[in-house]
């Protein structure tokens, strides 16, 4: 109770109780739909590929290699000649193309989650696209290729609406997640475009962070469609050891680390500290103006990186410290899960997988420094970081499905918030 009487403690407890209530509604039953499951898994996998490609763009310093958006060097991006995909343009342009594909997959996923209820949307959307394509053909005859594609897309959408989707709508919480995914992917596209047109590196940090959150979102939707999820016993055990809190807290720590990493990468200054585990030969590096000047003067960069600043050095030190904290938190969580639930328990297995990923991530982080921020190694570090966040997020998801809250802890929140949420969701599906 001492912790809850503190203002910060009250905030943490309130957020935690809110998460308890939110995640508790995920225990409604989901109908088996093989096609939807495969599509959801495909969307999640393509999103991971997209995150990897985004990492390649920044690692290869190619973020601004295509100075316009949504066009590509004046071309419609879908008709940009492959012969011109040179240098950094290859990374940036292919990233945009895969992003468009992920956007389409996400839209299809959201429509599919709505089941038959989405057919009118598909039908009317198709009609609008056909009419738009025809009108634009008359107004802008030079852009006939784009206008024809628009009309063909509309025709496809209209035709599909008569036969697809055939399934019943998914539970409300899943439909909400589907709509959120569409909103997130559209926001991602806009953020990516603004980063290029506004020349603001801060937008790149938001773009990178939202990408990771979006991956967790589509992965959660994909998980909900699997036999694994359906086979999990629903709150058959009580969370006496606060394992759910552990998973959520460690996942939030990973998210914070990803934000730190994105901030570091989008300084576009290369490696702020070039050695590991020491930092310029010390435990804590010298960040005086004279020392920072010396670091810059002695750096023989082979690209147009920005100068190193004291802030960037401190940022990397914070990243290293949080990495140690995550390693400790995840290893402790894995030990607790194994000790209290048993090694064969799904949560224990997830926790061990998570620990393995975090360990790999730490090694990749060290390798990034040892290789002088080699593009491939740095990108692998980004991708592994995404997997760490996804694993933590899904482990938290699973923990709330399998473990019931101790009555004294979450009972108050569930009594007030859970009934209204459950009443609005389709728990019979």
């Amino acid at each position: 109770m001492g912790f809850e009487s503190h203002p910060t403690g009250r905030w943490i407890v309130t957020i935690y109780r809110g998460l308890c209530a939110l995640l508790s509604v995920v225990n409604s039953k989901i109908v088996d739909n093989v096609g939807l499951k495969r599509h959801a898994v495909l969307t999640a996998c393509m999103t991971f590929v997209l995150v990897w490609m985004g990492g390649l763009v920044t690692s290869n310093r190619a973020g601004l290699s295509v100075p316009d958006w949504p066009n590509t060097y004046g071309y419609n991006m879908f008709f940009f000649p492959p012969s011109k995909w040179i240098g950094g343009i290859f990374f940036e342009h292919s990233h945009r193309l895969v992003a468009s594909a992920v956007g389409l997959l996400t839209l299809i996923l959201a429509l599919w989650l709505f089941g038959r209820k989405s057919r009118p949307v598909l039908r009317w959307g198709g009609i609008v696209l056909i009419l738009a394509g025809l009108c634009l053909c008359l107004k802008f005859p030079a852009h006939d290729k784009e206008n024809i594609c628009l009309s063909v897309l509309g025709l496809g959408s209209l035709a599909a609406s008569f036969v697809w989707p055939a399934s019943e709508p998914s539970p409300r919480w899943l439909r909400v997640l589907g709509v959120s995914a569409v909103a997130a992917v559209v926001a991602q596209g806009v953020l990516g475009g603004l980063r290029v047109t506004e020349l603001d590196a801060r937008i790149g940090i938001f773009h990178a962070t939202l990408a990771q959150l979006f991956l967790v979102l589509v992965s959660a939707i994909a998980l909900s469609q699997t036999e694994f999820w359906r086979g999990l016993p629903v709150q058959a055990e009580t969370d006496r050891r606060r394992l759910r809190f552990f998973f959520v807290a460690a996942t939030c720590l990973v998210l914070g680390q990803l934000v730190l990493g994105a901030t570091m990468r989008h300084q576009h200054a290369g490696l702020a500290i070039r050695d590991f585990p020491a930092a310029y030969g010390r435990i804590w590096p010298n960040t005086s103006p004279a020392a920072v000047l010396s670091y810059n003067q002695n750096r023989m960069e082979d690209s147009g990186d920005n100068p190193i600043t004291a802030f960037q050095i401190e940022l990397q030190m914070a990243h290293r410290i949080v990495a140690i904290a995550i390693l400790l938190a995840v290893s402790l969580g894995a030990w607790r899960a194994c000790h209290y639930l048993g090694r064969r328990h799904p949560l224990a297995r997830l926790a061990f997988l998570w620990f393995g990923l975090v360990l790999t991530q730490a090694l990749l982080g060290a390798a990034t420094i040892w290789t002088g921020k080699s593009a491939d190694v740095a990108t692998a570090h980004v991708a592994c970081g995404a997997l760490c966040l996804v694993t933590g997020g899904l482990a938290s998801f699973v923990s709330f499905r399998m473990l019931a809250a101790p009555v004294a802890q979450c009972g108050a929140a569930q009594k007030t918030e859970l009934p209204s949420l459950l009443a609005s969701s389709s728990i019979t599906h």
């Binding site: 290869n60 310093r61 190619a62 973020g63 601004l64 290699s65 100075p67 316009d68 060097y73 004046g74 011109k84 040179i86 240098g87 950094g88 343009i89 020349l199 310029y280 030969g281 020392a291 000047l293 010396s294 670091y295 003067q297 002695n298 023989m300 960069e301 082979d302 690209s303 147009g304 920005n306």
Partner: protein, 265 residues
């Protein structure tokens, strides 16, 4: 030298106006004295010449890992250009400029166009100097796509990034529209080819120079007076550079600099 920049010129004109009222002999004598004074002022614009030398052994340059399209334009190994050391340890690409002594004076930008060329997937020159308002021409001499991304740091100078996708593309307007304040130095890079970058020093007066391959520089026709001359090298000096006082009179002034390779940390 511009007469508008010289106070003695105004004095000379005023004296001529007064003298025209005196008797002829006295007028001629006084006029001769005044003309001599004025001539001395006009003639006391001098060239500032010098050499920047580097003391110590610089770290080795890094070989540039070109991509396939650019490798075809570079059959031999090309390296970075942080320390270009020539004859007798002369250091190239040092930006030499007047940091004090010209405050409050206005100058007309030279009509000469400074060209920054993208050739062989490298920017040429690596270091340039321009005056605010002077035209900078960006040119693509390569048979492939480049873009020009300028990253000024001074408030009032605008960052820009535009494409030159075809061989022969030129742009004369982007620089003057975006860079309107003095800055030492503005970095320019190509985002298609990460190893391509160069620097431009921007001044609000025409008295600056960039050392050549042997470290030599010349600032012509600096008006007479006392100045602070500063030499800035991206690696061998801290910003704003190494300074020394000079006095420009009737003849050329020699101002040499010796820069030192920083101690490794």
């Amino acid at each position: 030298m511009t007469c508008a920049a010289s106070r003695p010129c105004y004095f000379f004109i005023l004296i001529c106006f007064v003298l025209r009222k005196l008797p002829m002999k006295r007028f001629v004598l006084s006029a001769m004295v005044v003309v001599l004074m004025g001539s001395w002022q006009i003639a006391s614009a001098g060239d500032v010449v010098g050499k920047v030398t580097l003391k110590g052994t610089p770290p080795p340059e890094k070989p540039i890992a070109f991509d396939d399209t650019c490798s075809a334009l570079h059959p031999t190994v090309t390296t970075t250009r942080h320390y270009v050391v020539g004859k007798d340890n002369g250091l190239a690409n040092v930006f030499v400029y007047i940091s004090k002594g010209l405050e409050g004076k206005k100058f007309t930008p030279p009509s000469k166009v400074v060209e920054i060329d993208q050739e062989g997937c490298m920017f040429h020159p690596y270091m340039a100097g321009v005056m605010v308002g002077q035209v900078v021409r960006f040119k693509n001499s390569d048979p492939l796509m480049h873009n020009i991304h300028a990253l000024p740091m001074v408030d009032g100078n605008q960052e820009f990034n535009f494409a030159e996708p075809s061989q022969g593309d030129v742009n004369d307007t982007k620089w003057t529209a975006s860079i309107t304040k003095p800055e030492v130095l503005v970095k320019i890079k190509c985002e298609v080819h990460a190893w391509m970058f160069c620097y431009v020093g921007v001044q609000d007066n025409p008295y600056f120079a960039v050392t050549d391959k042997d470290g030599q520089f010349k600032i012509p026709d600096l008006p007479g007076g006392d100045y602070t001359l500063t030499a800035y090298h991206l690696k061998a000096t801290a910003k704003p550079g190494v300074s020394r006082q000079i006095t420009v009179g009737t003849g050329p002034v020699t101002a040499d600099f010796t820069l030192e390779v920083p101690a490794p940390k």
